[in-house]
Amino acid sequence: MTPPLLELDHVDAGYGPFRALFDVSFSVAEGRALALLGSNGAGKTTVARVASGLVAPTAGHVRLAGDDVTGVAAFRLARRGVAHAPEGRSVFATLTVEENLVLAFREGTKRGHPGVDASLASAYDLFPRLATRRGQVAGTLSGGEQRMLSLARVLVQPPRLLIVDELSLGLAPIIVSEVYATLGRIKAAGTTLLIVEQLVSHALGIADDVVLLTKGRTGYVGPADELGDLDAHFLG
């Protein structure tokens, strides 16, 4: 049996003396999509950070395709195909749109490099608004455009595991639908998804599995279609 692509195994994590996660365990199999749901402050973002290596667990293990990657630096995980679009405004505000996008190419950050042109083209295809603003400094984009850019940034090189945090926040509903359609295509192409969302309906539309988080502890962990009534979980 192949090991799951991402596995959190009895993970505790926090910030300084503050503990945000208590004994969190779940796993995502290759090619599947997992929705991480929970109210504000439940620890969803912290889980995403642990998965991408931004926050090191204080106990437990993180495994990537069976390898123990607990405490491994974020850039090493990124090189192994873990992409994380953090919540909020997460673009390099002083770089131009195009510089934001080419940053991720390790072989060369110039147009004309094999691969770079094609990837840029597909990113601009996805978000035509970015194409018209490619020379603009990212900090001067509107909030919605910045969210698009941060998503485009992690998509220019198709990741193996894509972590998106509160993607829909600050985007117009129509764009949210578009973005989720894109996520669907990426998933179909083989990328594994970890989706952190407040907009439950969209996330559940694409997710195979669900993890419910309350006050840093996991509640329901299982297939999306056996979840049943969400409110009951939160109230109970």
Binding site: P17, L54, F75, A78, V91, F92, A93, T94, G108
Partner: protein, 677 residues
């Protein structure tokens, strides 16, 4: 016309070196957010090594250059990054500033220990044939100047290519903005940061070696003063544009030479203006230069990953504890005072009194750095302003000494308020730079003026005489200093508890949030800075009065730096720590001078070199600031309190366990003591 051009041409090589230093400063600021105050010290290191190898050991130019600049420069940068600045990438700006300040204090002394105290005359340049003159018509440059220009052009071209066109340049810019997000983009932020530090330190070494031949001898002070010119150039570039920075450096060099050529060398204007030029330019830029406005560093979108800084110890203390430490502190001071009054001999009496005065001066740092979260490099200058103003007012107008000291403090406070203006719209770094400019201008331009210092012997500041009480008696003067210290301490406590203190707390947390709840940043900033300058001025007056005069060598730039690192090392959050620091300032060198390690070479022996060793100790001590911003005194207090607390809790638990075994208090609360407020 010809004159003008030839003066201007003479300014080009100097301008080039300014530009190199400035670009180096901008480079680390851009890539690591560290405004490297130690840059001049690093330049000094390479200049000293080049001198040692090239002149004292007669190495060939290429080898000496290879060792002093190409190898040593980047090596120092690498070590600084690995050991210090890498870990500060997400620390608050003040932590980075204090760290580089600690280095600025410690490095030159360490070099001096190795380099020896014997003067290093006639430094050599890098040109193989220094006597050769290159001529174009009526204009001429010597070989060293031509070499300087060529090297600079080469460096600037390389840097432009790097930042404009290379992947490394792009990654560097990304890491500056958010190391965390860069990591998510598969960039090894640590490695990129290291390369930036190595490059910038290479520039430090290079400019040191190029600058050395402009002076008669290799010594650290020259490099600090030049740093101001470099900082002015960097400010011209808005601390970010390398071409503008370069242009600024060049323009400053040329302007200085042209002024030197045109102004009659004996006029007052020339004597005052020429040396003051870089300081004035820097100050004017800080005030009016638009590119500096509102740049700040773009906030890191992933700053939220970092845990909040730990609560200052005082807030986790129980009230009983606070009372206990206070009683203990008062008892200690009272004990010392009694001992001083009835038992100390004249020497220790003077020393102890001086310690109290330094307690006053150091409270000015408590106000500014501990409460206001800002770093001033000109506290010694403010003390000097207080002292000289007191002296001049007493001498020229026959005013009584004691009230005049407060008048002197007022003068210092006004100067402080003026200096604080650049910091109003701009971030705290600019305040530090303004104080750097002021401190060096004070020392190099103002103090030599006779209306300030009355010449090299200084000005009389007699002991006060109030009614029947004659403070020429050392014991009476001790009591006076004690009273002043108590009053100033009380004032600081009041400010801390009062509205201004609350404002400052809010500002320290988050400027943006504070502004949104209506905290008036302008008022809070000016108040603290003027108060701090005033306190320093008062202390300076007392200090002068103790010895009877204020002389030009009493309030030098370097002393002010040492004060700051000393206070932040020991603790800048409490009145108590400032007083302890005042005592240590005198006692530590005194104690060191009694540690006679005869087996060490003279220069390493504390008994022979107490001041240098103390500088190194506290300079390096300031490096702990990032980890323990409350200072080692507060840290120790906190540790002992925690120990007492756990011990007390264990005792209570045991007691309650014997009373009711089933119902003991639960000590294992996940987010218990020490957690966020």
């Amino acid at each position: 016309m010809t004159d003008l051009v030839s003066y201007a041409i003479r300014g080009v090589p100097i301008g080039c070196v300014f530009a190199l230093m400035a670009v180096g400063v901008v480079l680390t600021y851009k890539t690591s957010g560290v405004f490297n105050l130690a840059f001049g010290a690093q330049a000094f290191v390479s200049a000293a090594v080049y001198y040692e190898t090239r002149v004292r050991h007669d190495w060939p130019i290429w080898l000496a250059f290879l060792v002093a600049v190409v190898a040593l420069g980047p090596a120092i940068g690498y070590v600084l990054d690995r050991a210090l600045f890498r870990h500060l990438r997400t620390a608050p700006p003040i932590a980075r500033l204090v760290t580089s300040l600690g280095l600025l204090v410690a490095i030159p002394q360490m070099v001096q220990i190795w380099f020896g105290n014997s003067p290093a005359y006639n430094p050599l340049g890098i040109a193989p044939d220094p006597g050769r003159i290159f001529r174009w018509g009526e204009y001429a440059l010597d070989a060293n100047q031509v070499a300087t220009i060529l090297v600079t052009l080469l460096v600037v071209a390389a840097l432009t290519v790097l930042f404009r066109f290379s992947a490394l340049g792009l990654r560097m810019r990304a890491v500056v903005e958010s190391p965390r997000m860069s990591e998510l983009t598969a960039i090894n932020a640590d490695r990129v940061g290291s390369s930036a530090w190595m490059m910038s330190s290479f520039l430090a070494g290079l400019s040191g070696v190029l600058l050395a031949p402009l002076f008669a001898q290799v010594e650290a002070n020259a490099f600090f003063t030049l740093l101001v010119a470099a900082v002015a150039a960097a400010a011209f570039g808005g601390l970010s544009s390398i071409p503008l920075t370069f242009a600024g450096g060049l323009a400053l060099g040329v302007l200085q030479q042209v002024l030197a050529g045109y102004l009659p060398s004996d006029s007052v204007v020339s004597q005052g203006l020429r040396p003051a030029l870089p300081f004035l330019v820097l100050f004017l830029l800080l005030l009016f230069w638009p590119p500096l406005r509102g740049i700040g560093r773009a906030a890191d979108p992933l700053a939220g990953v970092d845990p909040p800084p730990p609560a200052p110890a005082a807030t986790v203390r129980s009230s009983g504890m606070t009372t206990m430490t206070r009683v203990l502190a008062v008892a200690t001071v009272a004990g010392f005072v009694l001992a001083a009054l009835f038992w100390f001999d004249a020497f220790w009496l003077l020393l102890f009194t001086k310690g109290l005065i330094f307690g006053v001066i150091f409270l000015s740092i408590t106000v500014l750095t501990g409460m206001g979260g800002q770093v001033s490099l000109s506290q010694a200058a403010f003390a000097g302003v207080g002292a000289f103003a007191t002296g001049q007012l007493v001498e020229n107008f026959g005013l009584p000494v004691l009230p005049t000291m407060f008048l002197g403090a007022l003068v210092a406070a006004v100067v402080g308020a003026v200096l604080a203006i650049p910091a109003l719209r701009l971030d705290g770094l600019y305040l530090t730079l303004a104080t750097l400019a002021f401190a060096l201008m004070w020392e190099n331009v103002l103090v030599p003026q006779t209306w300030v210092s009355s010449g090299p012997l200084g000005v009389d500041v007699p002991r006060p005489l109030v009614g029947p009480v004659d403070f020429t008696d050392d014991r009476a003067f001790l009591l006076l200093c004690l009273v002043v210290l108590a009053l100033v301490g009380l004032l600081v406590l009041l400010v801390k508890r009062g509205t201004t203190g609350r404002y400052l707390d809010a500002l320290r947390g988050s400027e943006l949030a504070a502004a949104s709840i209506g905290v008036d940043r302008t008022r809070a900033r000016i108040t603290t800075f003027a108060l701090s300058a005033g306190i320093a001025g008062l202390g300076g007056g007392l200090l002068a009065s103790q010895v009877g005069r204020a002389t030009p060598t009493d309030y030098v730039f370097f002393l002010g730096l040492f004060w700051v690192v000393m206070v932040v090392t020991l603790g800048d959050r409490s009145v108590q720590a400032a007083i302890t620091a005042g005592m240590s300032f005198l006692l530590v060198p005194e104690l060191l001078s009694r540690i006679d390690l005869g087996f060490l070479p003279e220069i390493l022996n504390p008994a022979d070199n107490p001041a240098a060793i103390a500088s190194i100790l506290f300079g390096l001590g300031a490096l702990t600031y990032a980890k323990h911003p409350e200072g080692i005194l507060e840290l120790q207090t906190r540790r002992s309190i925690e120990r007492v607390n756990t011990w007390g809790a264990a005792l209570a638990r045991r007691r309650s366990a014997t009373v009711d075994a089933s119902d003991g208090p639960d000590p294992a609360v996940a987010n218990g003591p020490g957690g966020p407020r």
